[in-house]
């Protein structure tokens, strides 16, 4: 009919970003050759937080599911990896992926329960869920009960013969998880489901009236985020080689820091969690020696950013420059003469 048009989904900035991102991944891939052992390990940790923050941001910033209980899946993934490796003899690297799958499966029956709760009640519900997980895993004697367990040496040695190669493999899995998590968020938001999700974020009642299945869209996000979070958790505890209920289901480590990252970076943007993670680790690496003062400073930074830049640092950049690095927009272009 009538009007000629094309839909543009990328901009020059976004094409440059794609190239820069690829280069960055290549540089990160080569990290074992240019960074020291301790730094590679740190990079692995940073990458795992990029994944956790991007996933939490998708959940809370886009789907409106403000969970404070994602440690449930971090811990579950960790325990799943230990169980799969120790009892079923699954290769630990394979177990990372398998833990993700199991985490997603577990989330399917949990989601309908949590979705009955709205707003603050939902948040509390997720936290309660994480506590239930923590208490349950503390009962499993085969996994060390309340005091936890270490991954047997034989299994660790089974990852790769020498330590250097083992650490490289571990680091690359972290890189793969971070890339997968960010790519998943970008691809989801660009898809039909992403269109629905953004609409739901802006108005649930209008979305419902325009034929969007809100419940199913949120389920899709909750379950896939649970799976990827479990994978990240599996990696985290494979790197630590030791797991205990308190460490695995720590609300501080896996949710408070992650929310801090997403908030200072910019909730509801793809770039925000990445920016936030970098800032968080800069703060941590320079201030961590200060002990308690470090946490107070962290809190002060969070409050300052929330007051002065409620959309986070990346939100500030967008507001002043209009730049978006990752194209989720659809631009209609009409020919000049129409």
């Amino acid at each position: 009919m009538g009007t000629a048009f094309t839909i543009q989904r990328s901009t020059r900035t976004s094409r440059v970003t794609a190239i820069v991102a690829l280069l960055l991944v290549a540089v990160l891939f080569a990290a074992p050759w240019w960074a020291g052992r301790a730094n590679v390990r740190l990079l692995g940790e940073i990458l795992s937080f990029v994944a956790l923050a991007s996933l939490w941001n998708l959940l809370a910033g886009y789907a409106g599911l403000a969970s404070v209980g994602q440690q449930a899946y971090v811990g579950f993934g960790g325990y799943a990896l230990f169980a799969l490796a120790m009892f079923l003899g699954v290769h630990p690297l394979v177990a990372i992926a398998a833990a993700g799958l199991v985490g997603a499966l577990v989330a399917i029956p949990i989601a309908p329960l949590l979705f009955r709760l709205q707003g603050a009640y939902f948040a509390i519900g997720t936290w309660v869920l994480a506590e239930v997980f923590r208490l349950s895993f503390a009962q499993v004697a085969a996994l060390g009960g309340g005091s936890g367990t270490s991954l047997p040496v034989g299994i660790v040695a089974g990852i790769a013969a020498d330590r250097a190669l083992r650490e490289m493999l571990l680091y690359w899995s972290a890189l793969a998880i971070a890339v997968a998590a960010v790519a998943f968020v970008v691809l989801l938001l660009r898809s039909r489901a992403g269109l629905a999700l953004t609409a739901i974020r802006d108005s649930e009642i209008a979305s419902e009236s325009l034929g969007i299945d809100i419940w199913r869209t949120k389920l899709l996000v909750y379950v896939s985020v649970a799976g990827l979070t479990s994978m990240t958790g599996a990696f985290i505890f494979l790197q630590k080689l030791r797991i205990s209920p308190d460490a695995a289901f720590s609300v501080n480590d896996w949710t408070a820091y992650v929310i801090f990252i997403a908030v200072i970076g910019g909730i509801g943007t793809i770039e925000g969690p990445v920016v936030g993670t970098i800032l968080f680790f800069l703060l941590r690496e320079t201030l961590a020696d200060l002990g308690t003062t470090y946490l107070i400073l962290l809190g002060a930074v969070a409050i300052f950013v929330m007051l002065r830049a409620p959309k986070g640092l990346w939100g500030l950049v967008v507001q002043h420059t209009g730049i978006t690095l990752v194209p989720v927009r659809r631009r209609v272009v009409f020919p000049k003469n129409s």
């Binding site: 269109l195 802006d202 108005s203 979305s207 009236s209 325009l210 509801g268 659809r330 209609v332 009409f334």
Partner: protein, 245 residues
């Protein structure tokens, strides 16, 4: 089967207030019905019941031969009921085009290219083409009202519920809107239109119903209804008998 909508004895109560009181409505395929009534009379609630954003306490809604009383709003949308909101609910973080694309994509569940074409077509019809790439949060109130209409149309409805879409428009804008709605009608879409701007209604509708205190108090040919004692009483506070006596 010429009826597109048959609502029977719809009732809805919020707390102590009976907002909809045994209202029955029918609409023929291709017909346009206007609804008038004072503020707070329960007109929007009636739309909520028909569109499925609120559940009726009692009564039955048959749309296109299907009993939709128990269906959620999104299923009714898939079947062909679309509505605009009195207070616009734009997706503020999306562009105008993307807003309309949501309707085209999820309402009819068409292929991607079909949805895109439908969205652009609707932007053209509603005069929003120039604003296609503008974020909805940057639209004026009038543009937001147009966007309400555009989004609803994009979902490919056979019944369109318009809730005070002409309110706040200038005269030339109103003329444009009437033309656009006229075009929608000619495409075979049935319309129920709640409106205070009566002359806009009269230019489009075949029939008018009057709602007051949740009840339908009059219905019929527009001029006859507008001249009836009931309308005089509701709008002017004049006793019907006295006005005609």
């Amino acid at each position: 089967m010429t009826l597109i909508l048959a609502a029977e004895d719809l009732s809805k109560r919020y707390g102590a207030q009976q907002v909809t009181d045994r209202v029955s409505l029918t609409l023929d395929r291709g017909e346009a019905l206007g609804i008038i009534g004072p503020n707070g009379a329960g007109k929007t609630t009636l739309f909520n019941l028909i569109a499925g954003t609120a559940w009726a306490d009692a009564g039955r809604i048959v749309f296109d031969g299907i009993d939709v009383t128990g269906l959620p709003a999104r299923r009714r949308c898939h079947l062909g009921i679309a509505r605009s909101f009195q207070i616009p609910h734009p997706f503020v973080g999306m562009t105008t085009y993307e807003n309309v694309l949501v309707g085209a994509t999820f309402g009819r569940g068409a292929s991607e290219r079909d949805s895109e074409e439908r969205a652009v077509e609707v932007l053209d019809l509603t005069g929003l083409k120039r604003k296609a790439n503008t974020l909805a949060r940057d639209l004026t109130l009038l543009e937001r009202k147009r966007l309400e209409l555009a989004r609803a149309l994009a979902s490919g409805p056979s019944l369109l519920l318009l809730d005070e879409i002409a309110g706040g428009l200038t005269e030339p804008e109103c003329v444009e809107l009437i033309a656009a709605i006229g075009e929608v009608r000619r495409a075979g879409v049935s319309i129920i239109w709640i409106e205070h701007v009566v002359h806009a209604l009269l230019a489009v509708v075949d029939r008018i119903a009057v709602i007051d205190f949740g009840r339908k108090i009059a219905e019929g040919e527009p001029r006859a209804v507008m001249g009836s004692p009931q309308v005089a009483e509701v709008y002017m506070g004049i006793d019907g008998e006295a006005a005609h006596g």
